[in-house]
Symmetry: C2
Subunit: 417 residues, 2 copies
């Protein structure tokens, strides 16, 4: 049996305790660790206060095998994470020549370097240095008192990139077992339905294991295996994965993808097709989500945010009489929007959303009433009732997911409605 590595992530920064910043570092590190089978048991957030941080480290030493810190590695007098962690494990900070050279390079290059910058090159004796290619403050790792300690800077871009490139490989080496995990991502089915579907098997399984998880607008089923080699773990997962995929059928939009829009990009690229979007209640969110992904321009023409009837008429060319007769939130207007934006932008597929995201109603429909359309060779419209108790942001996000689900189904030749 391999050792179980219980992990605690300690995020250091008063800005987190003031609510000015969200602790995405802990989330992202946790997600990466869960995929290699390392269990995160605690997240702790503490301010830029060395005594309090020291107390937190003492608590973590008692309940965790791996301690990961984020934040407090910068050059200001608030940045004390390295000092506190080194002292908690009885280590000295020593000057690291390579990191000192990097700082001299900065100075020579004319970059503004504060007098305290050199402190960044002071690192715990005997540590493994994690050079920061995404910023200036290096991270590091050391083993002491039977614990493994890793430290990363706080800015999410630096923290996540460094953890992925340097932290994960470092931690993988700790284990004589390889843990492999894959996720089946679904839309249109809830976590509890998935749980119910696989409950009997899940209760019997020990390796691989299977567990469903809910995300805000969709859900996933994670299958994890432990073995002597990655190859062996993959082999153990494969038949379970095939069986689960077969039972889940059409609901599955991808394996190990972050979002449904990511899957839609792959499908569009494979088919050499592109799309355009006409958005009312989502107000640009479908386009924004898609263009968050680098390389979207190859398959996304653009679109129209037709937030007012005037724009629906003037830009999309929808007959104002139709809008008057059927209402802006209607099957007919959704259909026209999808068809017009496809023509207007010269796309293969046009999609549309018109609905009520709330909190105010229009006197006709309930909040959460949304029509989503897809125009290609034919036009399809889904009528959604997402619930009057839902937030504006949920309704917008869920409407977008329906649009992407329709696109995926169209591109895969599945039933769309």
């Amino acid at each position: 049996m391999s050792k179980v590595y219980n992990t605690e992530i300690i995020s250091v920064g008063t800005e987190l305790l003031l609510g000015h910043v969200t602790n995405t570092d802990a989330r992202d590190i946790s997600e990466m660790l869960s995929k290699i089978g390392i269990n995160v048991k605690y997240h702790t957030v503490v301010g830029d206060n060395p005594e309090k941080l020291r107390d937190c480290v003492e608590i973590a030493k008692k309940r965790a095998d791996i301690i990961i810190t984020t934040g407090g590695l910068g050059p200001t007098c608030d940045d004390l994470t390295k000092q506190v962690l080194a002292s908690a494990f009885g280590l000295e900070l020593v000057e690291n020549k390579a990191e000192m050279d990097t700082i001299y390079e900065y100075i020579k290059g004319g970059k503004k370097v504060t007098p305290n910058n050199y402190i960044q090159a002071m690192l715990p004796e005997g540590c493994t240095v994690f050079h920061n290619d995404w910023g200036t403050a290096p991270g590091c790792a050391f083993e002491a008192e039977g614990k493994t300690v890793l430290m990363f800077p706080g800015p999410p871009k630096e923290c996540v990139a460094m953890f992925k490139a340097l932290g994960l490989p470092y931690l993988k080496k700790l284990s004589d077992e390889q843990i492999v995990s894959h996720s089946i991502h679904m839309f249109g089915i809830g976590e509890s339905a998935v749980d119910y579907m696989f409950r009997d098997e899940m209760n019997k399984m020990s390796n691989p294991t299977m567990a469903p998880y809910a995300k805000e607008c969709d859900c996933l089923l994670q299958i994890t295996a432990k073995a002597k080699s990655e190859e062996e773990a993959e082999k153990m997962i494969a038949p379970v994965m095939e069986e689960a995929k077969a039972r889940l059928g059409d609901y599955v939009y991808g394996i190990d993808v972050d979002t449904i829009e990511q899957r839609v990009i792959e499908l569009l690229k494979a088919k050499h097709m592109c799309f355009a979007a006409a958005e009312s209640c989502t107000g640009g969110d479908i386009a924004r989500r898609f263009t968050d992904i680098p390389g979207a321009s190859a398959v996304f023409k653009g679109g129209v945010v037709s937030y007012t009837n005037e724009v629906k008429a003037k830009v999309l060319g929808i007959d104002p009489a139709l809008i008057e007769e059927k209402g802006a939130v209607s099957y007919e207007v959704a259909k026209e929007m999808a068809e017009r934006v496809k023509e207007l932008c010269g796309a293969d597929i046009g999609v549309s959303v018109t609905g009520l995201a709330g909190p105010d109603g229009d006197g006709v429909h309930e909040v959460g009433t949304v029509f989503v359309g897809l125009a290609a060779d034919k036009t399809y419209v889904r009528e959604l009732h997402l619930g009057t108790y839902r937030t504006r942001s949920f309704i917008r996000q869920m409407s977008g997911n329906h649009v992407y689900d329709m696109m995926r189904r169209y591109l895969c030749g599945l039933d769309i409605l």
Copy 2:
């Protein structure tokens, strides 16, 4: 002197430790508490494990006066927060009649109620019940062993709404002092510059206090006063606020506003003006951010996501020869985009963004090169170089902030460029 209430927020949920969900509850509660002068000292995240949660509660009892929990109040067998907290303080759970009636109402109304739903109506003896108008699981508060304990459900919408409506008033009553805090929000100046500008005063001040904080694309200066009454605290803040605002000048976009776009909505409404947006590299994000705010439709006509040159030409009507000659990322194209979208959508103001959000370049410009335009009576274009090392999402967000900053300056009659 009033007592200082050190606070710990314990968020319960294995999904947080797996990285499937971000701990926005702790952030939002922290932000609300900081505004009434209650210091959050720790955030802890722990899984759905009663022994581990109990240990965390014991730690919190030693270092905090107020313990706030989020999550684990639902009807499933995983939901054990109330049981653990009650037992940690030697309290029994007793049936609450009003909450039991609510559950019977659900059942009568035909809602699916699991056999475990009634557990939600079991609450610590003598507690103050926080009825949940946004979901089903009630929260509660009690005082025991000199500590104040508050519990809220995990779903962010329920947690934040309940904390605001019920938790904050409950906590405000604890103090015989009133704490009032206001924030000056700025764009175009960094936290360190603000810190430098006010360093001398800040070092001398004790009540009110003043502190600058960085947000991702802008920053704020928070002024906080303690007094016997809110009125008195407000009086103490007023002259400091006036002086700070005067020194910060044009950089200030609002007081106590969440975002610059919120301020722009107010200004547009006051002037009975509306705008439209033509977006390339922001890909709909400007429209999305604006329409995230309820009531945006009164001042936002809509827009065009002109992600490709084809859409710039076909939908916006920009001469392809101009795009060919100057390039899509250029002063001239930004100018045309703003002017055309204004005309096309029948708006008073047209704004535009065209640039390189990366990670790939176009062989001509550096990543982070962005042109943002505003067309009204005249047309203005800013050329930005946001930095090659910046992320795609930063570049998109910062470009949006520049657009909103130009609109704010235009609407306030300030210099725009």
